[in-house]
Structures are given as C-alpha cells and as structure tokens.
C-alpha cells in the first residue's frame, strides 16, 4: 500500500490536488480570515471563467494542438454577451452559435491542411480581437440579468465557485473520460493513425473537439461578464496563458492525449488562488504574473522530479 502511495504514477496524479491544498493552507496561515464563506467566495470568484477557459484549452490539447487564441475568443464572446445577447437575445445566441461553429471550422481547416495550430490560432486571435473591437470599441455594455444572477448565486455552506468547479469538472469528466466516444476522441491524441485505421473520421473528431472548445470558450466569456457586469475586447487577454497553465498544473501532458478534466479544474482553482495569495502576502501587483510563472515552474519541477524517479 505504502509502495503504491509513493509510486511515481500516484504522485503524479496527486500533484495537482496537493499543490492546491498547499497553496490554500498557506493562505489560511497568512490570512486566517480568508477561512470563511465570504473569504473563499471572494478569493475564488474568478475560478469559474478560468476553469471554463482551461477546459476549452484542454480539449484542444487532447488532440495534440494548442490554442493561442482562447483569451481573445473569450474576450469576443464576453463582448457579444454584454451587447448583442443583452439587447437582442436571439441575435446574440445566433452570434455565439456562429462562434462555436467557427471553432469547429478551424478544427476542420487545421486537420484538412495539416496546419500547425499555434500559427493558425495566433492569427485567429487577431480576428477575434478585431471583431470584438468592432462590436464594442470602448469598454462597456451590460451583462444580461440572468447571467449576473447565476454568477452571483449564493449557496449555503459551500461557496458557489467551488460548486461550479465541481460541476464543470464532473460533467467534462463523464463526457471525455467515461463516455465511449470520449475514448475515441482521446485516442485521436494518443495515436491518430490507429484511430483512423479503425474506421473513425479524424476530421469529425477534431471538429468535435474544437467545437467543444468553442462552446466552453463561450461559457467562459459569459461567466466572466456575469462577474464584471461590463465587457471589453481585452478583458480576457491573459486567459490564453491561464488556460495553458491550468491544463499543465492539472497534470495534462502536451502531446499524446493525456489530459485530466478534474485536474484542469483544480489547476484553474490554483491559478485563481495564486492572485489572492499574493495579495495577502502584500506582494505588489507587479509581481503577480511573475509569481504565477514561478508556481507553474515549481509544479513542473516537482513533476520532473517524480518522472526522474520513475526512470
């Protein structure tokens, strides 16, 4: 049993949760008042949009691609949410559906021409940003009431962000890790040739994953304006980096379809906490992103250490 607990495989799986726990414990130590319903709510409020963006990125990473446009895309959907969706719900819904369809189209294009996703998505980040600027040239707009109501939900005992994170993690876990088509989708990341030989359409698989990423990108944008009320084309620029970091913190690998939805959500929680932790430590905001980079490096170092033991 003990051997099992100290096995590299187990340690690797436990690393995301462990880093989150250590960070939480450190926060409570530095600022005991954070250990309250209100404190937790405040610290974790941005978990939901970050977790949704992280899940979106995870879908792309599952099929061995990388999305450098998810931040801009979340920004675009936030702008649509705060303008079209609030003013003319039907048109707004159509626009958001078009966004998801565009993502599926990107997946098809990348598969069809065997393109490097990094370059394509980097180019697309300009497109999303450009559309967002056209829709909302200056920060503003208002989030639809129901979005605000949902994001401001008060649940007894457990803060809403935690419940939302658990729900997101479980839903995606069932869809990707437990469903029979989910196995095929992950298989595309592990050995695309083999999946193709077994008669599955790789194009369909890639489009499915990109569409799923687009859908979660939309959810991320909406949940974000639910918190901020107003939108801005640049509101989620940092989410590209957050989402990649979240997947990695959650134990995902870059290639080979080895991902974990639950881990990704924990990764997002860890990222959301980092900001609060630094505030409590009275570290200047200048160092906030730096510290996030530092935490990413520490977790990766730990993982490298575990992997080395295995070798």
């Amino acid at each position: 049993m003990l051997a099992q607990l100290s096995s590299p495989k187990f340690l690797r799986a436990a690393l995301p949760a462990a880093s989150f726990t250590v960070l939480l414990a450190a926060i409570f130590y530095v600022q005991p008042r954070a250990m309250s319903y209100f404190g937790m709510n405040l610290m974790l409020q941005y978990t939901v949009p970050i977790a949704l963006a992280t899940i979106a990125q995870m879908f792309i990473i599952t099929v061995n691609d990388l999305d450098l446009s998810i931040g801009a895309f979340v920004g675009l959907t936030a702008c649509i949410g705060a303008t079209l969706l609030a003013d003319t719900p039907l048109l707004g819904t159509l626009a958001l559906a078009a966004c998801v369809a565009a993502y599926a189209g990107l997946g098809a294009l990348i598969h069809w021409r065997n393109l490097p996703s990094i370059v394509v998505t980097l180019g697309m980040s300009f497109v999303w940003l450009g559309i967002a600027v056209l829709i909302l040239p200056t920060p503003g707009g208002t989030a639809p009431g129901w979005v605000k109501a949902l994001m401001g939900l008060k649940v007894p005992y457990v803060p809403f962000p935690i419940i939302a994170a658990i729900v997101i993690g479980l839903v995606v876990h069932v869809a990707l890790m437990r469903s029979s088509y989910g196995a095929v989708l992950r298989g595309v990341g592990g050995n695309p040739k083999a999946v193709g030989r077994a008669g599955w359409s790789l194009l369909k698989a890639k489009m499915t994953m990109y569409a799923a990423a687009g859908f979660f990108g939309v959810l991320s944008g909406l949940s974000l304006i639910g918190l901020t009320s107003a939108a801005d084309a640049h509101i989620a620029d940092r989410y590209t980096l957050y989402a990649i970091a979240g997947v990695i913190l959650g134990g995902g690998e870059f290639t080979g379809g080895r991902v974990s939805p639950v881990g990704a959500v924990i990764g997002a929680l860890t990222l959301a906490l980092t900001g609060s932790f630094l505030t409590f430590l009275r570290i200047s905001p200048d160092w906030q992103i730096g510290a996030q980079g530092g935490i990413l490096i520490i977790v990766l170092a730990l993982r490298a250490l575990i992997n080395r033991r295995e070798a």
Binding site: R186, V195, A198, G199, G256, G257
Partner: protein
Amino acid sequence: MNASQSHIVTLENVTKHFGAVRALGGVDLKVHAGECLGLVGHNGAGKSTLMNVLAGTLSPDHGILGIHGADLSGRYNVKAAGENGIRCVFQELSLCPNLTVAENARIFHPTLTGFGWKRRAGNMIREKLDEIFPGHGVHPDNVIGDLSIGKRQMVEIARAFTSTGAPLHLVILDEPTSSLDAVTSGQLLDFVRKVVNQGLSCILISHVLGEVLSYCDRIVVMKDGLVVETRPGADFTRDTLVAAMGNVVEQEEIEEHERREIQRGTTPIVVEARSDAQRDGAALVAHRGEIIGLAGLAGHGQTRMLLKVYDAAMRKRKSLKVDGPVALVAGDRQTDGIFHLWSISQNVGVRSLQSMIRHGLIDPDAEAALGRAWQARIKIRTPDMNDNILSLSGGNQQKALFARALASDAEIILMDDPMRGVDVGTKLEVYDLIREEAEKGRTFLWYTTETDELYNCDHTYVFRDGVIVADLPRDQLSEEKILHSSFKESA
C-alpha cells in the same frame, strides 16, 4: 482442404504505385475460407502494401478486389473491410498508448457504446487474451503506455480476434511474433491453427521461415511487387522457400570468403564495456582492428550496449573504456539515421562536417567530393548524389549510412543490426568493405539478428536479458551454440 471452398478474398491484377515506385505490379491472390496462408518475401517485395490494400487503408490503382465473391473495387475502405470481417494486425502497433486496454478495444468496435461499455469491452478483450495467451498478466484497466512491448503486441493481436456483430472471416497478421518471446509465439501460432481449423482464415507474414513452414497451409512468395510462387506449405522446404525469394547464393557466398586470422590480444583494447545488469563481471572487449559480433534474440540488450558505448564516447564519460572517436550505423533508418530533407551527399557528409571546414565555413566542394568518393567506393546507385536521400531504395539508403560512418574520422564503428531489409548483393559488398576497414585498424561492434553475419566477426558475445551469457571466438562459433545461449535452459 477441399476444392469447393468459397473464396474470402480475390485479388486480380492489383497494382499500386507510390510516385514512380511500383509497389505492386499486378498481383493475383485468393484466400480460401479456413486456410492459413503464409506470405513471405524480402523487405520491399510488396507484402505490406498488399496487406494495406486488403485492410482497406490503401486503395489500389488498378485491378479487381473481390470480397466473398462481390466486386468491391473502388468502393473498398477500412469500414468495408470491417463490415466484411477482415482484420489486420499491422507491424507498427496501432494501439493508443494513452488509453486503457478496454478503451483500445472499444476504438476497434463502433458498436460498443452505451451504458456499461467499458465493462463489456474489458470482458471481451480479457476473454480473448485468456484464450490466446493463458497467463498473460494483462488487466483491461491497464494503460497501454505502461505495458511492455510484448504485452502490447498481445493486446493488439487479441483485439483483432474479438468481434461484435459482423462475423470474423480473415485476420491478417504482419510479423506478429516480432515482439513476442518463444512461449507466447507458440501460444499464438497454436491458436491460429485452432481457429483456422474452425473455419477462420489467416494470412501470416513472417520472416521466421520456420513459423511459416510449419503453420501455413499454403505459402505465397512475393518479389518486386509480384507473386512469384504459390504452393502448398508442405511442398516447400526451408531451402526451396529461400530459393523462391531469390537469395540462393547467400549461404555459399559467405562461407567462400576466407577467414581472417587475427591473433586476439595482439592489438590494444579500444572498448571495454559492461552492462549494469551484468553480475559476473563479464565485459564486452574489443581490440583494435577486430570485428566484434553482438548476438542473441532481438531486444536483449545489444542495442542498449551499443548506445552505452556511443554515449560514453560522445559525452566523454570515464565509466567505461572507449578509446577513440565512434560512429554509429543505424539499423532503423527512418528513426535513427536518415535526414529526409537532405540530399544523399549531405546525408553522407553530416558526420564529417568538421573536416570540411575551410576558412571557418563548410566547403560545398569538399562535401560534394566526399559524396562522390563514397558513391564510387560503396556503389550507391543514383544518377546524382544531390538528389534527395528518399529517392534511393532502402538498401542504397543503408549504404549511404554506412558511407556516413566509414567516411568519418571514427576509429570505432558501431552497427545496430544495419542489414535489416537489405538485399543480398548490398550485404556482400558491405561485408567486404567492413573487412577491408578492419584490416586498416578500425574496430567494429556489430549487432546482428542474422546468425550468418556473425561468421564475419572475429569474436561474438551472445546477449540474453541484457547481459552477456556467452563469449565465442570465431572458431567456436556455431548457430547451435548461439541458439543454446540465447534461450534459457528452462523457459
């Protein structure tokens, strides 16, 4: 066999070209129900292309492809193959390393969906593994990436024999025993015989001629993209089969060569290496000018030993003795040797770039001259050394890799089973060259899976489970001795 059996597959005059290369030049092939068909031929004879056509992963340029008597030419694909109960176990593994055994089984079966699919898939694959490989030690929840290569191969084979819905008619096994040990190979072949007797058909592609001769009802010999012989298995002997494949000269030619007499130990030791697992202190020793053979079953630590010597020389490690610069001739050309974007000359010259530098820059003339010199010396068959390396046939690509090592400043040449898939003519030319270079004082460490090649060596070490188990001078070398040390006393 009775004559009224129906044909599962009928190929007529099937051709397939890849660019200018003819892979299949009009193949006729029939597979009867309930027979085990052996398919043999050299690498590049077209076996793999033919299998891909049958599996539906490649569509032929011309010809008729009939399944169960229905002409499916032009409409045949992976899906149609599956619907008609035709399966293929490819040589390179087609499992997803990130998925579990059960999930990999699911990928194979589109109908395995709905609640409880994981349990059903797991049971199905476990039952089949139990049936083929009793005592396999594989659990359906194991992730493929965590399994040894042999176990992966077992999963892959077992998966091909599972069925949901459409009945199974034909299973194509492409080198199925390459990663299996003697015991599991035997289990598999016995299982194949059993299901064939029950009415299933199998195509067995194997380079182990003994397997083909003793397990196949009928043997088809391919050469240069054509079927050159089809006879009942019993009509072939090892010698006639080898003759049909077209390398009748091999044995005699090698034995004709005079044996080099070299007194071991008269020259200084240049390599002395020991594997970590070696407990009895035995070491691989090479003196200057010797050709040292590394023998034993494939994957028993020979390549690891070569890489260890290579690493020690490259990183200047003192942990083992390697005296002089080394160069390696890769056996797995695509992953270890070829630079696919470069010309033949560039591929030959890459190991000798330092010597081509004039005034701080690489001299293109020096590079071209080196290429030309080695084209002449090792007979690389190409109109132009500036052509892309992939324009060469496999054997000539291998020659280019030999040229790369021999043209370099290396005094110690490591060879990682480099003759795989090389035609006999090339082999003989290279053997001569190796002997010639050894006379000049170069040292060769030569890992080979072909026992005949060891007769070129002055000294042979036999490996088993990562350690040296026998140490045979040239005059004590025999196939029997090597086999004896390669297999454990009690399996």
